[in-house]
Subunit: 245 residues, 4 copies
């Protein structure tokens, strides 16, 4: 591959209606993530798509020219059309990587890929989070310390209603008494899915170097690889088969 083509999908609603969010992310959360990714090696291109764009930022041409998509949504999950969710779902099964961030746990596409409610506990008192690496061999942990801290976050707590991850990379500790499986990998069809917990509209999470590094590592991990052509149909047997009468 000559480089990964990334689409940062950002809901873009909080930034428009909330001055505090706009102050933190003047060009939107998507732009902040995109400007980091586009400077990294191996990234061919990065574009930001938002809900208010044509076809909710998910036209066929965008999907077909995207290797990995990152997803941030919160307030407007319900506005995504079923048609767009269907199209996204097909693209993931066909090989597009998907990195779901923070409140994206309740997005239609993540719930459809998981097959569960994706419900969780939460609390917003600005407590401290420690993100521990529990799979130090994993490429998504590349270059990280054994744990890193975020000083003020919204808490997400277990039970997080997801399928058991194929690989568990991170587990979070919260000051107020909870744990959370905050970095989880799954394969779905020819595509890869990574859920990463950190991120919030009013804490400056996407300015944190470790958080950005994880997103970049995840983009590289989720880039399409593997088998291209799969047939699922009525097939012929191998030659010289003797069928018992």
């Amino acid at each position: 591959m000559s480089g990964i083509r990334v689409t940062v999908w950002n809901e873009g609603v909080h930034e428009r209606v909330d001055a505090k969010v706009r102050e933190l992310y003047p060009n939107g959360m998507g732009a902040q993530i995109a400007q980091y990714l586009e400077k990294q090696p191996g990234i061919a291109s990065v574009r930001v798509c938002e809900l208010h764009h044509d076809e909710q930022g998910l036209p066929e041409e965008v999907l077909n020219s995207t290797d990995v998509m990152t997803w941030w949504g919160h307030k407007a999950h319900k506005e995504l059309t079923e048609e767009n969710v269907e199209r996204l779902h097909k693209r993931v099964l066909d090989g597009m990587g998907l990195i779901v961030l923070h409140s994206g746990h309740h997005s239609k596409i993540f719930k459809k890929l998981m097959g569960t409610s994706c419900d969780l506990k939460w609390r917003e008192i600005g407590e401290r989070e420690r993100i521990w690496v529990v799979d130090p061999a994993h490429p998504i942990a590349d270059g990280l310390p054994e744990y890193f801290e975020l000083p003020h976050v919204e808490m997400y707590g277990e039970h997080f209603d997801i399928p058991q991850p194929d690989r568990q990379v991170f587990i979070s500790w919260f000051q107020g008494g909870e744990v959370f499986r905050s970095g989880c990998c799954w394969h779905r069809g020819k595509g890869k899915v990574f859920y990463f917990r950190p991120g919030h509209e009013t804490f400056p999470i996407y300015y944190d170097e470790n958080v950005l590094r994880v997103i970049y590592n995840a983009v590289k991990w989720a880039a399409p690889t593997g088998v291209k052509e799969i047939t699922r149909k009525n097939v012929k047997p191998i030659e010289n088969v003797f069928i018992d009468p």
Copy 2:
């Protein structure tokens, strides 16, 4: 638990329209499975529900009094209403075990729980199948030989588009050159899901002692256990938390 309450859900369409199927299963495939299960230890009750019953055999009272449901469907997957799929899905996440049989791989409920297409290859020349146990410690393999054979079957082949199973219990070999992950376990929420490949409307698969034993083992494995009450909401922190300014 004083005994497992089983509901055998059977589409019941082939049996009505095809004389050959009726000859093989005069009372329907569901009845054949049910009459085996109801004689086994630890089973409190078994009832058969079919698509043409009230509310497609899935009224709230049935779901709420079912510990484990087995599912066989083929021709009429599309007829199941979205409302019933939704209700079934909630019941599984809330703890009801689900055993999906053979062509049930394309049922709406299985695809919703898996989050993938559940597509596969197939062929119908009556070839031989060998079902190998690859997890000999698993309760679903209890009392089985290390492999067993079915002399004439419809073939299902890889790639089977499912999430990686939490536990892979069986892998099938087919005379014509294919392999298939034919016994797969997943947890979804508080519920357990088992997919088991064997079963067909015109081969006498549900008369095979090993096949029936697997279904019984799976019913016991899938019976509700675990945590009853889970809260997913805004929660308070542990006492004595010092929040950094």
Copy 3:
């Protein structure tokens, strides 16, 4: 099975050399666990074996009449003979369940079954632990609340150098900032292995109702099931195979 035959293997060294431990567990930690288990339904027998017994408490007759063994050791891991470790290992692969408790993470048998160092972080300031259920459908979580607390414990922290668990049942939160995968399941051959973190010689952990309940649930989960006879040798092909020239 007419009931599970349990052997509680207890190192039994701390109890002899340390008055504080003896006060807490006058008959040893093993006896405390055993007296709980023997009252539970489905348990046929419970015996306690200790390092200072004949053949280190692990004679062939004991292993061959044990369905599930629980293991607590700490000070004297090195004293176990290689011959006894070898014999234990074979018994687990042949179907005996093994429940490894707390400091047993560094026992020879656990390290041999895992294939890793099983190293971890630790701290002993009597801090609080919250044990969260992350797999609410699992039989080892049966009857538990969604989390439970131990007021004063020794901390164990990540990275815990184990193979990714086949199923992750519990994750611990510690007051001092760490998380730990504290309830982990693996299959090894025909046997099942469960590691459970809680337990310490000077905190009264094995008087806690939830801890005891987990050990009992784990004993039931780890009891032998599955395939009895497996051949691993040079085998004949299926009849009627045409080998290409």
Copy 4:
């Protein structure tokens, strides 16, 4: 990383004592694998080490300058010294990738990393093998067709006594009636382990383009990534912890 440093460890005994093997692999199986790998992009260097070399081909300098090692052994597994196995094991846990080929399933290092017997069934009648991809998203399947064939092989059959793979990439079909989990991934500590079944001293398996491609893909997958520094010791709590009295 500026390129992966590969060591192809080859037992090198068959090639010396068996004219048929020498004819097939005049410079040894190791050289055949090495000459393929060294032409591939991203590979910095490839060297071949054999059992009869100094320190059995495993001196500290070799291990410390190897990113990924491939391993073929058969006749002489027992000759490897415990000291060398211990050193290899430490290097894998510390991050060196290990690709175990064919009869290497019974090598001391593989058995130590797995914690099981690694036993299996076998047969040598030169039957046909079909290797099916069951995880089409996996980087080790990159660029492969959905299955490929080897016309004449030694058969390996289930039950293969290994821990459940973290990811199952390939499953083999054999003409004579068996299946086999022939491509399996595990993480162990900071290292990655891949077992790949194909390969034999008297069939020209390591001339097959698909087999070589898998080995190359596996080398890239197993190259060290992740967290560099992990402390496992007595640690201090986070500041401002209130310990309950």
